[in-house]
């Protein structure tokens, strides 16, 4: 159950708008259904009172929107940030991607977000409404007379099950209680893959990545992917292909994408959340994070504004590319 309420957020937003602190509010808006929540910009109290939502489906990370929005608006923007969003927020500041002075960041605690596909596995299709009810969700479908009770922790998104931090690393104001950095098991899945044979790994990724439809949702949602012009949109980059014409195309795309965000990816998990093909894209990014931690020392992108990513750093004693494997083989 979320510990801050929709009313608290609305009141905060309305107050900040009213006293002129901010010119607009980045928040979540209900879509067609209760669960397809979408990011939105609110500029009036009326809009906020009518459409602003805060529920267990408000996964969207707003940090990335600040890059474009701070350029569009003259005044300050109010943004609500969950703990994991604040890492992206800091990372973007490190990269000078938006003007901090044009943002009013309100940190809000997060109890984890629900994954609608997990709910659908339990309740089936035809969901007409979902109501929060303590630690449960009350799911009504068009096929059932009675709402189905689903325990939230049973349907948490993967990234929330492996939440790395309930602590905000950046904000102007905090609503509710501050949490702690969590010693999560987020690298377990990567380790399991590493333990497989190369053939098994190849088969695993072949199966996963061959579903990719190159819709670019992962890139478009990624808070690290804020390039003025993405290499995949640049005909001169040599990788501008848009269609998944063969099995290599999407591997190439995902390797390059993961490499481009290596050292900058905060592991917010947005890529996996939005993938319409349910490809576990976070496993690529986490591989880089895990390797960076193991090879060059623990590093959490966005934990500290201005930190130097290990890929743009070195020591004279770094391990050799060949030793990467020797090391894993001896550890295994």
């Amino acid at each position: 159950m979320q510990t801050v309420t929709r009313e608290q957020l609305i009141n905060k937003a309305v107050a900040l708008l009213a006293d002129g602190t901010v010119k607009c509010v980045l928040g979540w808006k209900k879509g067609e259904f209760d669960y397809d929540v979408t990011p939105a910009v609110f500029e009036t109290e009326e809009e906020i009172r009518a459409d602003f939502v805060w529920n267990d489906f408000c996964g969207a990370n707003f940090s990335k929107y600040l890059v474009a929005k701070t350029r569009q608006f003259d005044g300050k923007i109010l943004v609500f940030l969950k703990p994991c969003d604040t890492y992206s927020f800091n990372q973007l500041l490190t990269e000078h991607r938006f003007d901090r002075d044009k943002v009013y960041a309100v940190g809000i605690p997060c109890a984890g977000m629900a994954d609608i596909s997990k709910i659908k596995e339990i309740c089936g299709d035809g969901i007409s409404s979902i109501e929060a009810d303590g630690d449960y969700l009350s799911v009504t479908t068009i096929y059932d007379d009675q709402p189905i009770k689903v325990e939230i922790k049973e349907v948490l998104a993967e990234r929330c099950l492996n939440c790395k931090s309930k602590k905000h690393v950046a904000y102007d104001e905090l609503l509710g209680e501050e949490g702690d950095v969590i010693d999560s098991n987020r690298f377990d899945e990567v380790a399991q893959l590493e333990a497989m044979t190369p053939d098994e790994r190849f088969a695993f990724w072949q199966k996963e990545l061959s579903r990719c439809i190159r819709c670019n949702a992962c890139r478009d949602v990624c808070p690290a992917c804020t390039c003025e012009k993405c290499v995949f949109d640049n005909p001169n980059s040599g990788v501008e292909n848009k269609s998944p014409a063969n099995s290599f195309e999407e591997k190439m795309f995902h390797i390059i994408r993961a490499f481009h965000v290596a050292g900058r990816c905060t592991d917010c998990g947005e890529c996996s959340r939005v993938c319409p093909q349910h490809i576990p894209l976070h496993l690529l990014n986490r591989k880089f994070i895990k390797d960076i931690n193991e090879f060059y020392g623990e590093y959490q992108a966005g934990a500290q504004e201005g930190s130097r990513a290990p890929v743009v750093d070195y020591t004279t004693e770094d391990l050799e590319p060949g030793e990467v494997f020797d090391r894993r083989d001896t550890n295994a």
Binding site: E95, R97, T226, C230, V231, N236, G238, V312
Partner: protein, 664 residues
């Protein structure tokens, strides 16, 4: 679309021997953009360059590909050719079909196939080339000479005389090098000290020269015209500027049993010492491994006797940073170790010595005051056997010694033999040789005098074994001309040990990023045409670090290196490399990744106003590359997530075009 001309060089038979050059020229004709393709015997010759120039004019070429030797060899030549014909020199690409093709692949079909692919890659690249204009960088008008032997001394004097400041770094306590250890010099027999020491004094007194003795170069950064060098001045525990070189301390020091390296260990020196009387700088040095005061704080006698208070037991190594425009390597040579040549009993008998040890034995300032006495018992040797080519001209399979000829041994052995016969006519002197090589001015005359006037017994053949028996050395050898086995009872055996580059050369080459050959001799930019330059711009070669040399040759090469340095330092600005990074501002995120990896601090950020597609204007932070500072490594191009940063001359598109051409 470019109009590309392809020029395939035969390099005589160097390329044409294993690559079908006509087939290469023919195959490249049909590559995109190619409008002209030909082959010629020597593309780098005037006639070959004329073919290129004429083709540029006749076919209105916008780019050329030369399939030839390595770009490290002739890229500059062909760029000049292009420029002379009015084509931007950076529209030239070289396909390396010699060093990286014809010389490493023996089969004609395979070599030809690869040459065509390399040619295609170069064509693909040149299709994407753009004209480039280089920027300019200032030159630090100071030279560094590493090594203070005769090579370094001569180079330093010549540069200094031209009016440029020079620093000499010498790892020993004095300059002078090997020449200072020699007795007489061939073919004129003037004494080495008599001609060297005045030069050493000139160095010491020259207003443009600083000497860093007992020092080493520990770090080199930068590039031609702008080197940043760290020099480590080892603690000598004597204040150099205070010591008068009176030598009192070297007489009073109680540590008397330190092997004297200047005399190759044939006598002893003290823990505090001056290597020899004419040392420059004439300053005492305390050997920290021998000095009791430094090792365990007991003694301090030298400090007590020093009248000027020059002794400082607490002295520390000092690191000096200096900027240089040019660096001359003059690290010289050493005789090789005799460990692997036990057949000559070097380790078993004190009376088997190397030629350099012989020099010290006959030197008036040596351990025997110039009297030729056997090291074992101090007697006059009556029979002396000289063995030539010990470790020189060895079979590679023998896994000992060097394959090359050490060049100087024939002459100094003739000198030694002659001097012995001159001073001690009752001594029998044998010289065993494979060949006698005397190709220098007055060299053969000198050798013939040794044989004809001085009666030295020259025997063609090798010594098989030397066995010490009692106080004689039983020498077994073969006389190849009379096909006889010889047995000689010798009193002294002198081995003409091969020479090799000093051990410090390799780490130094690494610091300078200068190339070396498999024997650790420095490689020239061109073996014939640029013999005193290293392929690394701004690094020059003087003396035996480049190959075995005698004194006259060393001195002439030293002068040549100096003239190259003077030519460089005389310039106020150097034309830079236009192959540098640049950022596409429209794509730049201003994220600072490039700035973090730039080793030169060449990247800064500016706020710039941009008109956006939706007709709004925004101010964005974008990277800006300083073209004078950027050296073109390309680290930033990979750090840049958006690909806004690219490298001129090695653009991502060009490299990928090469990849594609190779993988086709």
């Amino acid at each position: 679309m470019q109009r590309i001309g392809v020029f395939v060089c035969w390099c005589g038979s160097n390329i044409a021997g294993t690559v079908d050059v006509h087939a290469v020229a023919e195959a490249l004709k049909s590559e995109p953009g190619v409008v002209f393709s030909t082959d010629y015997q020597y593309m780098c010759s005037q006639a070959g360059q004329d073919i290129i120039k004429n083709a540029i004019a006749e076919h209105k070429l916008t780019g050329i590909v030369v399939c030839s030797c390595s770009p490290r060899m002739h890229e500059a030549t062909f760029r000049k050719t292009a420029a002379a014909a009015g084509l931007n020199p950076y529209m030239v690409e070289i396909a390396n079909i010699r060093e990286q093709c014809s010389w490493v692949h023996k089969d004609m079909a395979i070599g030809t196939e690869k040459a065509i692919i390399l040619g295609k890659a170069a064509v693909a690249k040149v299709n994407l080339n753009a004209p480039l204009t280089p920027g300019q960088t200032p030159v630090t008008k100071r030279a560094l000479v590493i090594g203070g032997g005769i090579a370094g001394i001569q180079t330093a004097l010549d540069i200094a005389d031209a009016g440029f400041p020079v620093d000499i770094v010498e790892k020993k306590p004095t300059i002078g090098g090997k020449m200072s250890q020699l007795d007489k010099t061939f073919p004129t027999l003037d004494c080495a000290a008599c001609i060297l020491t005045p030069k050493m004094v000139d160095v010491a007194q020259h207003e443009n020269i600083r000497i860093f003795s007992y020092s080493e170069v520990t770090d080199v950064k930068g590039f031609v015209g702008n080197f940043d060098v760290t020099i480590k001045k080892n603690a000598r525990y004597v204040k150099e500027d205070v010591c008068t070189g009176c030598g009192l301390c070297t007489e009073k020091c109680p540590m008397k049993k330190v092997p004297n390296e200047f005399n190759l260990g044939m006598d002893n020196r003290r823990a505090v010492y001056i290597p020899f009387a004419q040392a420059v700088p004439k300053v005492a040095t305390i050997d920290p491994n021998a000095c009791n005061m430094i090792k365990n704080g007991k003694c301090g006698l030298c400090a007590k006797v020093c009248t000027v208070g020059a002794i400082d037991y607490t002295q520390k190594d000092e690191f000096i940073q200096e900027k240089y425009g040019a660096i001359v390597v003059a690290t010289g040579f050493n005789p090789i170790s005799m460990d692997k040549f036990d057949e000559f009993a070097y380790s078993q008998s004190k009376d088997v010595i190397t030629s350099l040890e012989f020099e010290r034995l006959t030197n008036a300032a040596g351990p025997t005051a110039g009297k030729l006495l056997r090291p074992s018992d101090g007697k006059h040797p009556r029979t002396i056997v000289f063995v030539q080519c010990v470790g020189s001209r060895c079979d590679a399979k023998a896994e000992k010694g060097k394959e090359y000829c050490s060049k100087i041994c024939c002459m100094y052995t003739a000198k030694h033999a002659m001097l012995v016969r001159d001073k001690y006519p009752d001594t029998e002197v044998y010289v065993f040789y494979i060949d006698v090589r005397t190709p220098g001015k007055n060299f053969d005359e000198f050798y013939r005098r040794a044989v004809e006037e001085y009666g030295v017994h020259y025997v063609k053949g090798m010594v098989g074994k030397v066995v010490p028996e009692g106080d004689v050395l039983k020498v077994q050898a073969s006389d190849l001309l009379s096909n006889k086995q010889l047995h000689i009872d010798a009193d002294l055996v002198v081995l003409a040990a091969a020479i090799e580059p000093d051990k410090s050369a390799r780490p130094l080459a690494t610091m300078l990023t200068a190339s070396m050959d498999t024997n650790d001799f420095f490689t020239e930019a061109h073996p014939k045409l640029r013999p005193v330059e290293s392929p690394t711009a701004g690094v020059f070669l003087s003396g035996a670090c480049q190959g075995p040399k005698d004194i006259p040759e060393t001195v002439s090469q030293a002068g040549a290196a100096a003239s190259k340095v003077i030519g460089l330092l005389a310039k106020d600005k150097l034309t830079g490399n236009p192959c540098i990074a640049h950022s596409d501002e429209l794509m730049c995120n201003g994220c600072s990744a490039c700035e973090k990896v730039c080793p030169y601090g060449a990247i800064t950020y500016v706020d710039k106003e941009f008109r956006m597609p939706d007709r709004t204007t925004v101010i964005r932070r974008v990277a800006s590359v300083n073209p004078a500072v950027c050296q073109g490594c390309g680290a930033c191009t990979v750090a840049c997530p958006s690909g806004a940063m690219d490298l001129r001359g090695f653009s991502s598109q060009q490299i990928m075009a090469e990849v594609d051409a190779i993988c086709k």
